[in-house]
């Protein structure tokens, strides 16, 4: 029986890991579209993201154990098939509950595929250390590229296309792995390789969870701010948030220069917090001002995630189980970050929107335009607020058509700009407390990093 050659097999495994871990963030830029299409709330749509990460967090270690028991190749192939099937269901879902259920099933298949891949890679590349590096790089690349790919697909096709495209990619990755699974079933080689599971590295995994919570918040909140707050298109937001993975590449070059994993982890956590602090204190609604904080977060996440993953896996066997623990910690962190911060910023965004609309209305009331024009504007603003159930990020259409009289026209344009400025202020300010709390989470990760001498491996 033929087994897939190592190179296609490694490529397939890396693709599988990248695809699954991209799925934890790929929908971030599609959330505003899903939010509108499925007519849900911000808290509701957040569960499209939370459900996947929650199931990944809960299922990663059991999936690793299962993969070792039934054979990792078989587990990876089945996991990818489940992932593909659930992806199809996600793409066809027309209700939020269906989408969330399908996302949970996707995460189950994904957890099986990712942990099994870590068990399969050493045999394909010849060393456990190299296998870990490929696995971690594929995961980080997937997670970093996810939002941009998701944003582009949402803009060019639809949010559904993100999931539908995953189906052929997952099946293509499963084909070479399936050949290994057949070989594995015929020879039963895995049963002899079961080893005792060592204790997970608690400090590194706790720190991973806390930093992941802060990073997830950074990505999720920034995307919502760009699209819902500042009205960028998904593709525009995708381009803006690409700064973070680009900075992460820069950060990955810094890593080898500093051998101390603890120093890299601490510096990374500080940079992530500093970047989030900058996002919490944006002095104006301007995309360019998000770039320096993103650079800090990007460099920081690259340093801290690689240092902590390296620490959690270093010298521990079996790799799949400890890899499962890191996956579990990271996704649990994402869930905690989203669950802790979503209620805060949804309450803030509602309050800030009301304040912004009131501030804009005050500008209209205090202006010297004709009272009849004021009533007309107030009527249109009220109608627009009612029509959009208060979910407005722009009130520009309420000012159309502009008056034909040049003086009135200029006055109305001035009022429109002032009202929009108030909305921008409201949207930006609404995210500040959440970014600030995420920054605090990143700083708190310094405690497990600092307390653990074993981080310096």
């Amino acid at each position: 029986m033929s087994v897939a050659a190592p190179r296609p097999r490694v490529a397939a495994l890396a693709l599988a890991v990248g695809l699954v871990l991209a799925d934890s963030s790929v929908v971030v830029l599609a959330l505003p579209d899903i939010y509108r299409d499925l007519d849900t709330s911000i808290a509701g749509v957040t569960w499209v993201l939370i459900s996947f990460n929650l199931v990944m967090a809960l299922a990663a270690v059991p999936a690793a154990l299962l993969a070792r028991r039934v054979g990792p190749a078989r587990a990876a192939a089945v996991g990818l098939a489940v992932f593909a099937g659930a992806g199809l269901a996600c793409g066809l879902a027309d209700e939020l509950s269906t989408l969330i259920l399908a996302r949970c099933i996707q995460a189950l298949g994904g957890a099986l595929a990712v942990t099994a891949a870590l068990e399969l890679l050493p045999a394909s590349v010849g060393s456990e250390r190299r296998a870990t590096a490929i696995w971690a790089t594929a995961g980080a690349t997937g997670a970093a590229l996810g939002p941009a790919v998701g944003g582009i697909l949402t803009e060019l096709v639809s949010w559904q296309s993100i999931f539908l495209l995953q189906v052929p990619v997952a099946l293509a990755a499963a084909v070479p792995i399936l050949a290994v699974a057949r070989h594995e079933a015929a020879t039963g080689i895995l049963q002899t390789e079961l080893r005792r599971t060592g204790r997970p590295h608690v400090a590194a995994n706790v720190a991973l969870a806390m930093v992941s919570a802060a990073i997830a918040a950074a990505l999720f909140l920034l995307v919502l701010l760009l699209i819902e707050g500042w009205r960028l298109t998904p593709i525009g937001a995708a381009i803006v948030v690409t700064v973070m993975p680009l900075a992460a590449i820069l950060g990955s070059r810094l890593g080898p220069l500093v051998p101390s994993a603890r120093a890299r982890a601490a510096a990374g956590a500080i940079l992530v917090s500093g970047g989030l602090g900058g996002l919490a204190l944006l002095p104006h609604a301007d995309v360019a001002l998000t770039l320096p904080p993103q650079v800090l977060v990007g460099i920081g996440l690259s340093l801290v995630l690689s240092a902590l993953t390296e620490t959690a896996l270093g010298g521990r066997a079996p790799q799949a189980i400890h890899g499962g623990w890191t996956i579990s910690a990271r996704h649990a962190g994402v869930v905690i970050g989203l669950l802790a911060l979503t209620p805060i910023f949804t309450a803030d965004i509602a309050q800030q929107r009301d304040d912004a609309i009131n501030a804009g209305t005050a500008v209209i009331l205090d202006s010297k335009v004709n009272p009849l024009l004021k009533i007309g504007l107030a009527q249109k603003i009220e109608d627009r607020l009612e029509g959009e159930k208060g979910k407005v990020s722009t009130l520009g259409p309420a000012f159309e058509p502009l008056p034909s009289d040049p003086a009135d026209r200029a006055a109305v344009e001035g009022l429109r700009d002032e009202l929009q400025e108030q909305l921008n202020r409201g949207a930006t300010h609404a995210f500040s407390p959440s970014f600030g709390l995420a920054a605090l989470l990143g700083l708190l990760a310094l405690i497990p990093i600092g307390l653990s001498r074993r981080v310096d491996l």
Binding site: G278, P283, L372, I381
Partner: protein, 174 residues
């Protein structure tokens, strides 16, 4: 350079970069970039040298909205949007549990405050203010809302409201 020193340098650089970013954004006003807060409608809002009928009408409307909003415990902006359309008014009444009688009382109170403010600012003669107050006490809700929304046309054509004082209006407006 030894490994320990490189580690310390990396951590130090991270601290400096983070503090620099936060410091620059704070200095640029990052802590105060928020919507302007609505003013308390119960607080007196002085009139600023009103000149001409339209400007007086504008300030009259604002004073009236402030007075009514103060009575109802809402912002004047919320009330202004609610009074702009009949549907908005119904939604507002439902949301805040207000009936027509309570709304009418609040708007009349607002209009009376506007008359006093106008009088205090020297924009309305006491000769007009007196009968105007009497009219406001009796004014139906719809007319009261019209007066709040568009005081200029009402002040410009007070036949129905002022009775014998009508012809004196333009004379007594500055």
């Amino acid at each position: 350079m030894n490994a320990k020193l490189r580690g310390r340098l990396l951590v130090g650089a991270a601290v400096v970069a983070s503090l620099a970013l936060v410091g620059v954004y704070l200095a640029a006003g990052g802590s105060s970039y928020a919507p302007e807060k609505s003013q308390d409608p119960c607080k007196h809002r002085p009139w600023s040298n009103p000149e001409g009928l339209q400007e007086i009408a504008n300030q009259f409307s604002i004073s009236a909205l402030d007075g009514a909003a103060c009575q109802l415990g809402v912002t004047r902006e919320t009330l202004a949007r609610a009074l702009a359309t009949p549907e908005g008014r119904e939604r507002f009444k439902e949301r805040y549990g207000i009936d027509d009688a309570k709304l009418a009382r609040a708007i009349r109170a607002g209009l009376l405050r506007a008359v006093s403010d106008a009088e205090e600012a020297g924009a309305l003669s006491p000769l007009i203010a007196g009968p105007l107050r009497g009219t406001i006490e009796e004014i139906p809700l719809d007319r009261a809302i019209e007066l709040v929304n568009d005081a200029s046309s009402a002040l410009g054509g007070f036949e129905g409201l002022l009775g014998p004082a009508t012809n004196l209006l333009e004379e007594f407006l500055p």
